[in-house]
């Protein structure tokens, strides 16, 4: 596995400093980018395990950067860093594939815990997972990648290893709901009509 590293993208020097200090004890290289353009440039040469991305930045905003990352480097885990009360933008970012979000102001422990959680999720491999807590950690990954079938599979395995744990059932129900919504959306699509009349025996 490639060496882990973290990228902090924020327009404010104080936030970059604070996050770098907070992540220091993890012993993982942390780089910073002052804006979206700088971040994308850095990502051309380095593959980061986690990117902490501020939503509100001068020039290219966080959502635009996130779209770029999702298109160009879909494997990169992006955590959205947002100001208090920017619920709509955070929701949009989560829909676009951000794995989690962090609200300002944040404590050093919050930053470290979140980074650790995401990095651990990356390390877990399905073949090695036996216990419920590991399945529970693993099941968030396909959900954030919007890979519904894969998520369902993992959640089902989580249920079988920890049948008394309610959270897996809740997530499973949500996944089925998402699947149902997609089905409903597909039903709303215009039906394709043949442009030429069907002639019996032609096919």
């Amino acid at each position: 596995m490639s060496e882990k590293s973290i990228l902090v993208v924020d327009g404010e020097q104080n936030v970059r400093t604070m996050m770098t200090q907070a992540l220091e004890p993890l012993g993982i290289p942390v780089q910073t980018a002052i804006n979206g353009e700088d971040a994308l440039k850095k990502m051309e040469t380095t593959t980061y395990s986690v990117v902490f991305l501020d939503l509100k930045m001068p020039g290219m905003d966080g959502l635009k950067v996130l779209r770029h990352i999702q298109q160009e480097r879909p494997g990169v885990r992006v955590v959205i860093v947002s100001a208090h009360g920017s619920v709509e933008s955070v929701a949009e970012a989560m829909k676009l594939g951000a794995v989690d979000f962090l609200e300002k102001p944040f404590t050093p422990t919050e930053v470290r815990d979140l980074a650790t959680q995401i990095l651990e999720r990356e390390v877990l491999e399905t073949s090695q997972v036996i216990h419920f807590p590991d399945w529970a950690t693993l099941m968030h990954e396909p959900v954030s990648d919007r890979s519904i079938a894969c998520a369902r599979d993992i959640v089902c395995r989580a249920v079988s290893t920890g049948p008394s744990r309610a959270e897996a059932y809740t997530l499973l129900a949500s996944l089925f709901e998402v699947g149902f919504q997609r089905l409903e959306e597909m039903k709303q699509l215009p039906k394709v009509k043949p442009t030429e009349p069907f002639i019996e025996g032609e096919l």
Partner: protein, 139 residues
């Protein structure tokens, strides 16, 4: 041993609040400074690496926004003793902040604060003590 990496909320960003915020930030702590007016924040140095929140800290929503429930320390340094007492009490009783400190101008209130379990620092008492010490030294 000096602790670093604490999450500290400072209410009131006047001369004392800003000074504390700058120093604690330079020592590697995460600091959130709250003040009623944005005009108080220029007191923070260019190296200050914390957050600023403009708002009334007597409102729990503002304290919640500052994540006082996750803070290791809260320091109330506004110019109003009553505000400091109220904020300190809310932090202590509602948000269970482990360490709460308040500035109190009136030395007569120190006892009342102490009875509520809030540690106070009274500039009047501190200055008076230093004056007494200086007089004794001269003798």
């Amino acid at each position: 041993m000096k602790k670093t990496g604490l999450y500290i909320v400072i209410v009131g960003c006047g001369r004392l609040g800003a000074h504390l915020a700058n120093r604690l930030s330079s020592e590697g702590h995460s600091v959130v400074a709250i003040d009623l007016s944005e005009s108080a924040f220029p007191g923070l140095s260019a190296d200050f690496s914390g957050f600023r929140i403009e708002g009334d800290a007597t409102q729990t929503a503002v304290l919640r926004e500052a994540k006082v429930h996750k803070a290791d320390v809260l320091i109330a340094t506004t110019h109003d003793d009553n505000v400091n007492l109220m904020v300190a009490q809310v932090a202590k009783k509602i948000f269970n902040t482990p360490k709460v400190l308040a500035r109190v101008f009136d030395p007569r209130r120190e006892t009342a604060y102490a009875q509520l379990g809030i540690r106070t620092i009274c500039p009047t008492s501190v200055a008076a003590g230093l004056f007494f010490d200086a007089i004794s030294e001269d003798e």
